[in-house]
Subunit: 252 residues, 2 copies
Amino acid sequence: TTGTVTLVGGGPGRTDLLTLAGQAALADADVVLFDRLGPQESLADLAPGARLIDVGKAPGHHPIPQPEIEAMLIEHARAGAHVVRLKGGDPFVFGRGSEEVRACARAGVPVTVVPGVSSAIAVPGAAGIPVTHRGLSRSLTIVSGHVPFEPQEYAHLHGVGGTLVILMGVNTLIQVCTGLLRAGMPPDVPLALVERGFLPGQRTTVTTVAEVVRRGGMQHATSPAVVVIGAVVALAESSVWEDLARTVEGAA
Amino acid sequence: TTGTVTLVGGGPGRTDLLTLAGQAALADADVVLFDRLGPQESLADLAPGARLIDVGKAPGHHPIPQPEIEAMLIEHARAGAHVVRLKGGDPFVFGRGSEEVRACARAGVPVTVVPGVSSAIAVPGAAGIPVTHRGLSRSLTIVSGHVPFEPQEYAHLHGVGGTLVILMGVNTLIQVCTGLLRAGMPPDVPLALVERGFLPGQRTTVTTVAEVVRRGGMQHATSPAVVVIGAVVALAESSVWEDLARTVEGAA
């Protein structure tokens, strides 16, 4: 009999930010396909009966092509396995989860999705930055920065007027900040880069959109990193939020 | 000695979408302030040692004013309690969590935040709608619909060109759809209303932005509901996704 595929949103990477449903799926798994974005450290404990397969795309290493990952999911499920595809954050936020679900469904393999804590929301919070704050930000726009945008897109990204969160945005950060400034964003709009959110070595750098361009980017930024642009970033600079950031860090 | 306040993102309402960290905070709680948006059903089991205080704002009932909730958090913590403020979704997505954190920090009460699964992302997924899909949507904008927008805001919300998710958007849905159409959104852009996501009686209605206006809104829509506008909604209509939606529903 055919097995199943369960896409599990693993959250930003700290084990205790996994959901109970995600934990249950891993406990029951025969095979787990994981990558560098989900919780990895305690994976052997979380999925004691599973074969663990690293399909990660570490920068500089040869990635497993997406169609091959999808073929692996289907192949193991057809062999009768409970397969968990463990992903960072939420499976439907730039994780290609939608493609994996469609591939399974088309192949007749039962597939379910366990949502996860999105790094786009949680990682700014770990740095003391609330993505929305009454009176400061009424919207949150989450984008992938893997390629830069068109001029008209910058106008709207700025025009929406709320908080802008960029995932996978380190490599294109100069272009994106330049585009936003050309679209009329004031140069002193605060920008935060949060590296390794919720993980050992978490680091927050607060600057401005113009300063990023002037300095030629954020040197030495390490992946994974989340970029936050907007008035809410200023809350992280107040002493209240510095205390909070320390507390949150201490709890991690 | 002063206690602590922990804001816990409870996710969309199904108990198993709580995080392990959220579960641990509840297990350790002396006092839990909850409302109608978080997981309620098994709260007595999750927090067996806690006094449970409903600060919910059920429609039509007298809500507890926000400053009073903040005063309660501080008062119980000062009395030495481990206080959990259990919120629906993630505490920093339109939950006034940021205000509660600031109130505690200003009062000198140690406060930490446990992020949660945001309904803005997870509830569309429960209906088979991925908020991003390669080639269809490169951005996700999350807004609160509690009051309508200005004309210029609609232009940008439409112009960003990705997926638009509206929380608390049932009451203003006609105005918002009218505003988006006036800003140039094509009338046939698909719109989904997902009621009671992940809860018994989950229901998805798929229509178009123009149809909402023509019909004078979505009658009989029940809160909580999440509105999704954009090309990704069409994925929910394909048979592949109908199967998925059934599977996901069956798992719930």
